[in-house]
Amino acid sequence: MFTPEPASHREPLDLLRRFAPTPLKAQIYLEFANVLLETNDLSFLSSLSPLAVREPSSQSCFWKIVRDVDVRGKTTEASIVMAGTLIVYSMGPACLMAADRERGEILAFIGRDVDARLFQESILPSLIRLTEFVTPKLKAPPVARSTELPFEGGCNA
């Protein structure tokens, strides 16, 4: 497995790890969207392989998934924020994901202790739902799409 080294956050200053290198790039055809993946951990790609189909979709989406080697510990209970064209899905510092519908992209940090099983069982299903959010079905009526909730759970608002 590719093991990313901790990146320097000093030169230039990058306290938020915004510029953590993601040198691995792959194009994956999922059933409902073509995903262009950028990451620093090959294991994410392996987890996606079983979901790949042969034919490209008419929809496209960009994923940037950073393995955050500075974050230790497991995920916590999920929390979702929906605001306009954004959905943020958090399971604590070990799993931070955001989907930007307007830009057709999903951005994520996954902590170092999130193993392949946890990723496949807990995180990947949410990634798929976020992808559905940023690539709405073309035939669905706009009003229905805007009120559709891609996740199940208690609503606190």
Binding site: R18, S79, L86, G92, N156
Partner: protein, 324 residues
Amino acid sequence: MTKLHLINRAALPLHSDLLIAGAHCAFATNSEQILASVSRWRCPDRLRTGRTFEMNVLLDASLPSNRDVLTQTHFRGLHHLVFATIGGYEIFVFDLLRKQVVGAVSQASATDAAFWNSHWLPITVGVMGTTVGTVPVHTACLDRNGKGLLIAGVSGAGKSTLSVALTRCGFSLISDDWTYISKEADALVAHGTSAPVKLLPDAIQYFPELGGRTPKMWFNGELAFEIEPKAFCQDATALRSRPHWLMFLERTSAPGCDFAAYSADDAQAFFENGAERLPDQVPDASSARSAMIRSIAKCKAWRVRTGESPKATADAIRLFCERN
């Protein structure tokens, strides 16, 4: 169970305009308590401009209140988004592209005015400011008769300790750590937030009144005393000034306090190198920040190399400022 927060202006009926360190924040919430906690920043109704950011905060009373802001806050950023989690449940998202902040907080945060005033709103301006013309720079700032003194220096140079010493010889404290610079009618204005002064444990040798206090862990893992500015310098605080002097503080083991001219190019390089790299998605913010840094670097600047105590250094700076 998954917590789902739908955050939009319709769900947040309480609105207020805030002016924080020169940045206009159009604030909305569903909580009277949150509105009361941020009330010190309230300003009369302002029209939205390109220098406004929106902040929408939902109180979810079902969120657990057991969180420690200083040790359990986690920040990450990708592209135009910055995430912040506080404890296991509270979350904020800063969208630099759309100039919008959204968050969901617990009852503990809603009623904690110190959380908003000393930590969260200053942090918010630190993250969003560059997109709305208010640039955070890592300097202390003091005021003397309407003229601002910016003190820069690497971490650990003693900016905070010197700032407190300067308040005891005629200067008013605006900030000991982060200062927010904006332009008004083409003139630079330096803003503070009255955030607590952060003094490293060794400051106790200069300020015996710190005895009995306990240093605590900060966001960056540093152990430091947190002191309300007024505890040191009653009536010696201010919220804004016009930058006039710019000093780069260096510690030395040699005795004396020496002032040497510092070039605008070196000053500009210092601030550019110390600034957090901004994402490619907000190119206007990067160029606006660089322009602001060039303006700051045009202030009269000196390198101050001192081996003296904070009090003696402060006295030397006071005399120097009186002559320059």
